[in-house]
Amino acid sequence: MGSFNQPVAYLSLIVFLPVLTALALAFFPKGKDDAIKFTTLGVTIVVFLLTLGMLRDWFGLDFDKGQAAMQNIFAYGWIPSFGIQYFMGLDGISFPLVVLTAFICMLAMGASWPIQKHVKAYCILFLLLETGMLGVFMALDFFLFYVFWEVMLLPMYFLIGVWGGERREYAAIKFFLYTLVGSVLMLIAILMLYFSSDLRELDDAQLVAAHVVENSQAGTAWRGQVPDLKAMPNRKQHTFNILALQQMGQHTDLFEGEMLFGKSLSWWAFVLLFIGFIIKVPSVPFHTWLPDAHVQAPTPISMILAGVLLKMGGYGIIRICYPICPSAGYELAYVVCIVGVLSMVYGAFAALAQKDFKRMVAYSSVSHMGYVVLGLGVWSAMADTGYNPDYWKMGANGAMYQMIAHGISSAGMFFMVGVIYERVHHRDLEQFGGLFAKMPVYSGLAVGIFFAGLGLPGLCGFIGEVLVVLSAWEYSRVLAVISAGVVILTAAYILWAIQRVYLGSEYKGPHAEALTPITMRELLIASPLMVMAVVFGVYSKGLLDYMQPSIDQQVEQLAQWTRQYDQEHPPAQPLVDIEEQIAVLK
């Protein structure tokens, strides 16, 4: 392992510390519930500090915020005979999500204190879940990515199924089935890409960019070394390396071969991956697992679901779908945007119609994650705009910003719903009212966090939404107008909910006596979320400085690719200027 400040040691520790602790917890004696909870909380705090440490080089590993490329990267053979690597790294896209994950996990563990049932099993599963989520954001080998992606399923199933609400088993299996179908689609796409990939097609610079080799001299040496290359000169060099696949998608024709029904392999891979990811996001029409899972899950798990799990879908789209299959992304950009807008509108209307407080928040997630899909999909670097990538950059940055902001606000909203549910044991919006009088501090924080979700200027939700809507304008006016209109719907359901729950003269629902002021523990969980919501609302530069270089670089590369693609595949000329065309022909 060498020293601790090596990326391999540092990042592995972040990912695997939770699972190692889980293993140790299995041997804890019975009846030590508090000790187990404290241990788990301690580990989540340590993991959070470790991720935070990379901001300022506290523990020997630094994340350089000016750098656009992957950093802190390492690769070791994991299953060499299958060509699978233990390959991880961070860039501006994944790093903020890693920090967010660690942050939300820490708070969610704090929110887990009221759990009394089977504490040991709960904590073990919780830690397994954390490992899975962190691993997904760091993995750069497609196989490794898939393994982490699936690792989360099991703990999530049990966390919803054992500790959830009345219809927990139904919700758990629904969640599991949906995600598994998505995963199987993704697995098929992984195989398709793997078997069409060929490292030999990349030139030395691209090999270096994909971290297959260290420098271009090594690239030449690598070509000489590949053992199979000599024995079987026609054998393709397949790879699971995501960065190499990105290079192949953008610089070679490997994925452009026709596969089925006249569509290219890249098109099919994109569709399969995209469906797999929007099941997770979730977008309409694959969203139906979400309201059930969110509502039935215990509060801390809802926080993780909304705060982190949904982001994995968005992350997959930006990290895998577009860079690896750009031609399909280009062709289907409009479909992607429509899926995004549809989710926004549908989610908002559905949220308006809910009577259940938690269900309303769940649908608001569908609506808010629609912005992410839209922002990622606005492929505005077209011939019409002279391949100007600026608006698309804005959209992608907005989408990423929205992911982080939604991670904070939705986790906060679910926690706020959980706080009152623990007191009065119901979530019926019609039976609330007047909480401001009984729980003033709580209500203040809750209203603040709900406003952050609404997208009020000055709070974190605003920036992402505004960037996305602005960028959509350049791409499609209709979609931009609709998505701007959704802001009104969002305001409507959130304000209406605030009015029904917190305002009003007095609380008339059941268990009025249980409405005690917020406890210290709850305050400690809610206030960091509130603080972050304000900080990211005011000082957006703080976050964008980290994300922007990587996102801009990717968008620029794709814009460049689009220009080249259009040159190679000239679009059918519109028949407006026939005389000019005749002139050209002459």
């Binding site: 299953i79 005979s81 299958f82 393994v147 199933y157 089935l177 199987v184 098929i188």
Partner: protein, 574 residues
């Protein structure tokens, strides 16, 4: 070659080539005889048969392991044993180690669950050893007679094993059903073998493949054969073919007046030969199908799976483990051998790919769908083994599809099959040992009686849940690696048919989730029944279950070692 040199050749072949390589099987035979005969000697009944069984199986395993470590397999010299009856190559060596390892673990399991008690132990172990011997023969078969012998040797003891618990109606019923079904399919298979051997003039698999090729040539050139016979005699194989043709002609067409007309067939001979050219592929296809029936029975492939759920429910869980792992793997290797051996010829190839592929799709889908409604854990696992046989057959189909085209990728396909089987070994042994121990502790094999076991015996239950998810094929458990590898093989084989298989396999994975998950849900989420007392298992059963299910996690994270080993096992397949 005179008679003396023939005898000398036979003696060298038997004593120097065959018997030393056949040592593990001989050790099995010896321990069977010892177990039965030791009781004749005074005081011999005091010798526990478990001791003999475990020593015998371990000795056999020890002698089956390659001498110079696993890597020395690379230098293993492939050869044919007993004048071509058996083939000795790395695939066989691998399968034999696999079967004998299973035998050792199985003997221990039988001891721990107490199914082989003091008085009847020797019967039980003898049957198990005999069946294992048959499976070893199946895995090394190089001749259709050995195929038949091996299948029967593996099946007949299994019929008895299925009914070993005396006085239980269900058990006897299972046994009888199994025996009748087995006898029926054995008859059909034997007929198929006789058809194949009759047309091709041999039952030796490599020679059969050769003649199949000749058959094709002959069919193409049949007219030229009859018109210009003198030139053709130079080509030896075709002359043989001509001879067979003449003989069949005699028996088929009874009014054929001139038997010795090989050299000068008249116009009518021409006609007959032409019609025979059309007939022969049909006879071959029929023979192949009938042979396939026998194999499908052992594999419990749809539509020859009907015995499987009933036998699994009636027999004890230990025997189920034996049937589902050892028997199935041996049958799979046999299918592979026949498939690769005959499938090297292009015409036979597409036919066999289609046949195995269709059976795989039907088996996999049917197994998964039928498992839904089951309430008995053994019955559910029976359908699950049917489904998993389907996945494994897909790998066989991929291997056959690749055999003539891309030998390197064909090796990968076979590797995926062996890897899957090896992982399946631990999953099913673990699952059935859980069922057996729980039967002892709870007295029930109904899924609903497992409610809330996570509270009473957490470790066992966690192991079982891990096995269930591994059976679904979720990472990081080993089942995923096996499935992933098979998917890869299918993809590499390419073409619309293989893509279809891939999609079916993917869909089936999603379908299978529901019923495995239901058991996991019952184990972990349902409340414990109130009238259930404490569930006591003892240390050894728990340790055993954890031990055999640990590889399910281990090979999921570090499959490299097992994968390399499986890859080496494919070294001598073309």
């Amino acid at each position: 070659m005179n008679f003396q040199s023939l005898v000398d050749l036979l003696v060298t072949d038997t004593l120097e080539t065959s018997l030393p390589r056949f040592r593990p099987e001989l050790l099995l035979c010896a321990s069977m005889v010892l177990m039965l005969l030791v009781r004749i000697v005074r005081g011999g009944e005091k010798v526990p048969s478990f001791l003999l069984a475990i020593l015998g199986s371990m000795a056999a395993l020890w002698s089956a392991l390659p001498g110079g470590g696993m890597s020395s397999w690379a230098e293993l010299e492939p050869c044919q044993l007993f004048t071509g009856m058996l083939v000795y190559d790395t695939l066989y060596a691998y399968t034999r180690v696999f079967l004998l390892t299973f035998l050792v673990l199985f003997v221990i399991l039988s001891r721990l669950t107490g199914i082989a008690d003091r008085d009847e132990g020797q019967d039980y172990y003898t049957l198990v050893f005999g069946a294992t011997l048959g499976m070893c023969l199946m895995a090394s078969a190089n001749h259709l007679i050995v195929v038949f012998l091996g299948i029967e040797m593996a099946s007949v003891p299994s019929y008895v094993l299925a009914g070993i618990i005396r006085g239980r109606r269900r058990s006897s019923e299972a046994s009888l059903k199994y025996a009748i079904y087995g006898a029926g399919t054995a008859g059909v298979m034997l007929y198929g073998i006789s058809l194949l051997a009759g047309v091709l003039g041999t039952a030796h698999l490599p020679t059969m493949a050769q003649r199949l090729g000749a058959q094709r040539l002959a069919a193409l050139e049949i007219s030229s054969v009859v018109e210009e016979p003198a030139q053709i005699t130079e080509v030896k194989v075709e002359a043989e073919e001509e001879q067979t043709a003449a003989k069949t002609e005699d028996s088929d067409a009874d009014d054929s007046g001139h038997p010795g007309t090989q050299g000068h067939p008249g116009a009518r001979g021409h006609e007959v030969a032409a019609s025979k050219a059309k007939l022969t592929p049909m006879v071959l296809a029929l023979g192949g199908l009938m042979l396939g029936v026998g194999l499908a029975f052992k594999l419990s492939a749809v539509p020859f799976h009907f015995w499987c759920p009933d036998v699994f429910e009636g027999a004890s869980a230990e025997v189920d483990a034996f049937l589902s792992v050892a028997s199935k793997t041996a049958a799979m290797v046999l299918l592979l051998r026949i498939g690769l051996g005959l499938g090297i010829q292009p015409e036979a190839n597409s036919f066999m790919v289609l046949l195995v592929g269709m059976a795989a799709v039907a088996t996999c889908t049917f197994g998964n769908l039928a498992a839904y409604g089951q309430t008995n854990i053994k019955r559910m696992l029976a359908y699950s083994t049917i489904a998993h046989a389907g996945y494994m057959m897909m790998a066989v189909a991929a291997a056959i599809a690749l055999v003539g085209k891309d030998p390197a990728q064909m090796r990968v396909a076979v590797q995926s099959l062996l890897l899957y089987a090896s992982i399946y070994f631990f999953m099913n042994l673990g699952a059935f040992s859980f069922v057996a121990f729980m039967r002892n502790a709870l007295g029930s094999e109904e899924i609903k009686d497992y409610a809330g076991l996570i509270r009473s015996c957490p470790w066992m239950t966690v192991a079982m849940v891990a096995i269930l998810f591994s059976l679904v094929g979720l990472p990081p458990l080993a089942g995923f690696i096996g499935k992933f590898r098979i998917f890869q093989a299918l993809f590499e084989a390419g073409g619309p048919w293989m893509m279809f298989l891939l999609v079916v396999a993917g869909l089936n994975t999603a379908i299978s989730l529901v019923y495995y998950l239901r058991v996991a849900k019952t184990l972990c989420m349902d409340p414990e029944p109130e009238n259930r007392g404490p569930v006591s298992l003892g240390f050894l059963p728990m340790a055993y279950t954890l031990l055999v299910s640990f590889p399910v996690l281990l090979f999921g994270i570090l499959p490299d070692w097992l994968a390399d080993w499986a890859y080496q096992a494919t070294a001598h397949l073309f």
